[in-house]
C-alpha cells in the first residue's frame, strides 16, 4: 500500500532532491510515489527518471561470467591437481612395494630351489658313487675270481720250473727220474681234473 503523500510534500522533496539534500529514505519515498501509478502531467519527466533508475537497479551481471570467475580464482582445481598427485604417488609407491615384495619372494624361492637342487645333486652324486663303488667292488670280486686260475697257471709254471730243474739234476743222477717227475706232477694236479679224467675215461669205455 502506498502512503498518501500530498503533491506539495512530493514537490518539496523534489526540490531537496535536485539540490542533493534528500536522505536515502526520502529518495525511496519519491521512487515509490512515481512508480506507484499515474502522476500529474508536469511531473512526468520525474516518472521517467525514477522508472529508468528502477530498471537500472534490475540489471545483473551475465551468468556466464560466474563460471569464468570460478575458473579464474580456481583453488578447487589446484586441490584436485594436488589430490591427483598424492593419489598417484601413493599408487606408485604401492606398486613399487608390491614389485619389490614379489621380487624378494621370487628371490627367496629361487634360493630355496637352488639349495634343494644342490642337495639333490649331492644325493645323486652320492648315489652314483655308491653304484660306482659297488660296480668296482663287483669288478674286483670278478677279477679276483679271474685271477684264481692265473694263480694256478703261475703255480704250474713254478712247478714246471722246479720239476724241470729237478729232472735235469735227477736225470744226471737217476735215469728213472722222469717217472718220478710224472708222479710229482700228478700230486700237484687238482683233484677235479683227476675226477674228470676218470669220468671221461669211463664214458669212453
Amino acid at each position: 500500500m502506498n502512503k498518501p503523500y500530498t503533491k506539495e510534500y512530493i514537490l518539496e522533496l523534489l526540490d531537496k532532491y535536485n539540490e542533493a539534500e534528500t536522505s536515502l529514505q526520502e529518495e525511496h519515498i519519491l521512487q515509490e510515489y512515481f512508480l506507484s501509478g499515474s502522476v500529474d502531467k508536469d511531473l512526468l519527466p520525474y516518472k521517467s527518471i525514477f522508472t529508468f533508475l528502477k530498471n537500472e537497479q534490475k540489471i545483473t551481471a551475465p551468468e556466464v561470467k560466474k563460471e569464468g570467475m570460478v575458473t579464474v580464482t580456481s583453488k578447487p582445481k589446484n586441490r584436485v591437481r594436488r589430490l591427483i598427485i598424492i593419489s598417484s604417488s601413493i599408487a606408485a609407491s604401492l606398486l613399487l612395494g608390491i614389485g619389490l615384495t614379489i621380487k624378494l619372494i621370487d628371490y627367496q624361492e629361487r634360493q630355496e630351489r637352488e639349495a634343494l637342487a644342490a642337495q639333490l645333486k649331492q644325493k645323486e652324486m652320492m648315489a652314483s658313487f655308491g653304484a660306482f663303488a659297488e660296480a668296482i667292488s663287483l669288478v674286483a670280486t670278478n677279477l679276483d675270481k679271474g685271477l684264481q686260475p692265473m694263480n694256478s697257471v703261475n703255480a704250474l709254471n713254478i712247478i714246471e720250473k722246479d720239476t724241470t730243474n729237478q729232472l735235469e739234476s735227477q736225470e744226471e743222477e737217476n735215469p728213472n727220474a722222469l717217472i718220478t717227475a710224472l708222479e710229482l706232477l700228478a700230486k700237484y694236479l687238482p683233484a677235479e681234473q683227476n675226477d674228470n679224467d676218470t669220468t671221461n675215461n669211463s664214458s669212453n669205455n
Binding site: A20, S38, I59, A61, T73
Partner: protein, 173 residues
C-alpha cells in the same frame, strides 16, 4: 582470506560491479571484462583485504579505477547497449505510451552517458545503488560537498533535458 570468505563477501556484489562498469564504459563486453579484472585484482591482494573494513566500497573503487584506465586506453569502443533495457514496469500505460517510454529510457541512458565522469559516477552510486555519501566519497575520491554539487548538477541536467523532450513532444501532438 580464504576462498570461501572471498566468495561470500565479494560474489554477491558482482551485479553492482557490473552495473558501475557498464555505466562508466557504456559497453557490455568491456564491463564483463572489468568484472573479471576486478575479481582478479582483489584475489591477488587477498592478504591485505583482511584489513579492509568495507569490502564492497573497496571492490567498487577497484572497479572504477579499472574503468578509468580502460577509458584512457585506445582500445575502448563506445557502443550503446540498446537491447539491455527492460520494459517499463508501469501497467497503466497504453501500447503507444510504452514505446514512448522505451524511447525515453534510451534517451535517458544516452543523456547520462554524456555527463562528465564524476557526475555520472556519483549519480549512479546514489540513485541506482542507493549508497550513502561517505561510501561514495570513498569510491570516487571526492569530498561530500563535491559529491552533493556533482549530484545536484547531474540530476538537474537530466531533468531539464527530459522536460525539453516532453515539451517538444507535447507540441507535436
Amino acid at each position: 582470506m580464504t576462498i570461501d570468505e572471498y566468495t561470500n563477501k565479494l560474489w554477491p556484489i558482482r551485479d553492482r560491479i557490473f552495473r558501475l562498469a557498464r555505466r562508466l564504459l557504456v559497453n557490455e563486453e568491456d564491463a564483463q571484462d572489468i568484472v573479471q579484472d576486478t575479481y582478479l585484482k582483489l584475489w591477488s591482494a587477498k592478504t591485505r583485504l583482511d584489513e579492509v573494513s568495507n569490502m564492497e566500497a573497496m571492490a567498487m573503487t577497484v572497479t572504477r579505477n579499472l574503468c578509468l584506465d580502460r577509458l584512457k586506453s585506445h582500445n575502448h569502443k563506445y557502443t550503446v547497449y540498446e537491447n539491455s533495457f527492460p520494459d517499463s514496469t508501469s501497467t497503466t500505460t497504453t501500447a503507444d505510451n510504452q514505446i514512448h517510454l522505451k524511447d525515453l529510457q534510451k534517451n535517458l541512458s544516452h543523456l547520462i552517458s554524456q555527463l562528465p565522469e564524476q557526475q555520472r559516477t556519483v549519480m549512479h552510486l546514489r540513485d541506482v545503488e542507493g549508497m550513502e555519501f561517505d561510501q561514495i566519497s570513498y569510491i570516487s575520491g571526492q569530498s561530500i560537498n563535491a559529491i552533493r554539487a556533482n549530484l545536484s548538477r547531474a540530476r538537474k541536467k537530466v531533468r531539464e533535458t527530459l522536460e525539453k523532450i516532453y515539451e517538444h513532444e507535447q507540441a507535436l501532438y
